[in-house]
Symmetry: C2
Amino acid sequence: MTVLQTEKPLLRVLAGESVRPLPFWLMRQAGRYLPEYRAVRKQTKDFLSLCLTPDLATEVTLQPIRRYHPDAAILFADILLIPFGMGQKLAFVEGEGPVLEPIRRSEDLGKLDVSRVDEVLAPVMQTVRNLRRELPADVALIGFAGAPWTVATYMVEGGSSRNFEHTKAWAYGDENGFRQLMEKLVDSTSHYLLAQIEAGAEVIQLFDTWAGALPEFAFRRFCIEPTRRIVSRVRARYPHVPIMGFPRGAGMMLADYISETGVDGVSLDPFVPAHWAAEWLQPTCILQGNLDPMMLVTGGQAMQAEIERILGALGGSRYIFNLGHGILPQTPPEHVAELAEIVRSWRG
Amino acid sequence: MTVLQTEKPLLRVLAGESVRPLPFWLMRQAGRYLPEYRAVRKQTKDFLSLCLTPDLATEVTLQPIRRYHPDAAILFADILLIPFGMGQKLAFVEGEGPVLEPIRRSEDLGKLDVSRVDEVLAPVMQTVRNLRRELPADVALIGFAGAPWTVATYMVEGGSSRNFEHTKAWAYGDENGFRQLMEKLVDSTSHYLLAQIEAGAEVIQLFDTWAGALPEFAFRRFCIEPTRRIVSRVRARYPHVPIMGFPRGAGMMLADYISETGVDGVSLDPFVPAHWAAEWLQPTCILQGNLDPMMLVTGGQAMQAEIERILGALGGSRYIFNLGHGILPQTPPEHVAELAEIVRSWRG
């Protein structure tokens, strides 16, 4: 553990050390903004095949590492692999996003089989093993999964959604039934994350992209509570693997999220004021993120000023630079190089 | 003023009195969930004609008053009447929402003529005058406009948007140019709101639906600052007309929004924890809202429990019951009647 900590700046920050230059990585750093990613993507049947073909998933994970040498690689996969692994029909339709055969009532839960996940998602573990072998010695490997609430929204709506109306109708109107779905997600997700760690993931991140759509009582029940249970199961087996949460849009609920789920740290979306997070969150946890991905599209002086503002507020210690959400497809790759340079040269 | 205050419960709360039963109204209470609204809408050429035909706009504003007798009517209009009034091409396309000829560069700002607004939006003032004549004596009349940032997103994107990429590209990359657009919006919006008050609006609400898409520095520049200027212009002429703000998604920035814009109160979206708002905001301002509109779709015990939770946290004084966003089209009208009954019978 000590050896790893000295070799990988990101793991050293997660262990509480103050590190310069400050480590960074970027959400969706392997993605459509890179021509080499689009080239690989073009050769694959569909997005799902890309996730489940270890050589290709390994290759696209490594692409941004070669270009920018960030301090972490994040496994190339998708949060919807869990419902797919449990047997829900899933397709990624070009220009439309994911399409699932929706599950909206307790009676449909029998279609989901947690015991299939291991076998269906075995290729993901091969990707993790490949990456541990191929990554530079100073680059940490982050595994991840979607948090139950966010994954449930796709499972229930049958895809992306604006108001989450079917999911909320179920969660608000038949809470016991909905809890059974959450239960299956807690089980399969815990299991999946443990397998990622066994295969070599050194940090875990839980993405709860739609946490911000929940009013407080529901945020406690459907975001905090299932996350808490996943964290406690993973930690029981691997107490030293850091777990980061990303309850996007959680706002002032972040403090409760951190203390009640037990995560080691959180990613900050662009809407959390950095100085607020520095005052109220950073004393007890690791922070990550905060830059508006549109800033990376714009680039130039505005980007530089905003990066420096964020670093000034959060960069002291317990901080990993990142965006507040995934890189947008229209991002010019040279802006990412500029960002890396600004963060690396900052010594505040 | 004293007479009005004793007659209209909503104005009494805004004047700081504790009132029972607690007043309520609902955002988008005149809308597609009502069959009588759909009947009127079917007879009109398009949504814009409905907004600009005083007899019809008056009729649809009054429909929910007849059904539920809430404590306020909100003028039936649209936040995009301001760009339309300045000469930007606007159409509401069935099933698609608003479509505007986008304005994305300083050079295009010449197309916008603030001096046209008065004449083009004269029908709106006729609607306000009609409503003051026809509303029951205990129902307050709320006028409104979109806040500059939110209106700008539609003007620049050319319609609805997910990432506001053109708007942010302009705001981040050419701030001086973008400020000229905001300037025109501050001018035309202030003027339009003053005209509504002259015609009879008793309360003003500023909707900043997409405020939550802004990181802190941009929230200060493009949400707080233009709102502050509108508030100060309106207040200079009509110091006794309450002004409510709705910076949706503002989260922990709400306190700064209130103190720096000078609004008398704010609407709370569903994601603001009620007890937080009670502790940090209510001592200095009037609050409104907070119920997830999906709760009104679900109805039943879950809705009742959530309404009572919100009333328990906020209902003491300085509070007007409302949703945290507009009524959804799929809302059963009978659920609105249940909500009205729960709020009216609450005596906590």
